[in-house]
Symmetry: C2
Subunit: 137 residues, 2 copies
DNA sequence: TTTGGTGCAAAGGCTTTGCAGAAAG
DNA sequence: CTTTCTGCAAAGCCTTTGCACCAAA
């Protein structure tokens, strides 16, 4: 089935994990690449993609699909939701969790086997709100 | 601000809308292209993309971002959720709607202005369930 | 007519991958 | 040593776009 692979803790993998956990911005792969280059100038974009993929498949980090063209990554694997700013695309955390079992509800309405849900919000971030206000003044 | 544009009802636009509304599969742009070619062999993929974009920006259809690499489209603009099959990627409808105002809940927990939410499920479609069952037998 | 739309093909943006050398275990 | 990982560059996939011609209104 799924190919098992021994994971090695390379320097690259380690700093990728460290940087992602140190940050709460839900960076894209390229964001990470830019951050990482400061610490390890020769790291390659391919390595960043490969590791983010491996780490998220191992459940060590989360890959987010919050809309927009690029995937984002989150070092926080606890269950929580996200907001994406419609203006600048940045992503924030939201702690709301539905107060009842959405999967169970959904299961009543479909022939699919329901595994899990994802709740996401769109809105405008504080910084873009500010810019709007200034712009129209 | 947003550039206003007079929409013309071209033959292409019309059959795109017709086909999308006739189907409940939430097709990708390329799925639509393949379907449309049967009725209009010379239609171009670019035209399909352009029209799906225009129609969804006008609120006449919905562009879905349900995970996976390709966007999907839905001729049904009523508020409803979707399930994506983790096996084959197909997408189905779900009628569950949260019983209380999620936006309001979320707004309490963030500095973002919350506009709306999106609730999506992952699971396995009937056809893939069947295949699994047969495969392991 | 006027102006938006189409087909075609090329360009773009993000991600994946093949390969030879490097490094972890 | 053996096997996985890395950097690099090329390839891939989906989507967007420039352009000259076409067609709604």
């Amino acid at each position: 089935m799924t190919e098992e692979h021994k994971l090695r803790m390379t320097k690259q993998r380690q700093i990728i994990l460290e940087e992602l956990r140190a940050v709460k911005t839900h960076p894209t792969a390229d964001d990470m690449y830019q951050m990482l280059r400061k610490r390890m100038p020769k790291i390659s974009l391919g390595t960043v993609y490969r590791n983010l993929e491996i780490l998220s498949e191992s459940g060590i980090i989360q890959k987010l699909d919050v809309g927009g063209t690029q995937k984002r990554f989150d070092g926080d694997i606890s269950i929580h939701s996200h907001v994406r700013c419609v203006e600048c695309g940045c992503v924030g955390d939201i702690d709301v969790k539905p107060k009842y079992n959405l999967e169970e509800e959904a299961q009543k309405m479909t022939d699919f086997d329901i595994y899990r849900h994802r709740l996401e919000f769109t809105g405008m971030c504080p910084s873009c709100k500010q810019k709007k206000k200034v712009g129209q003044a």
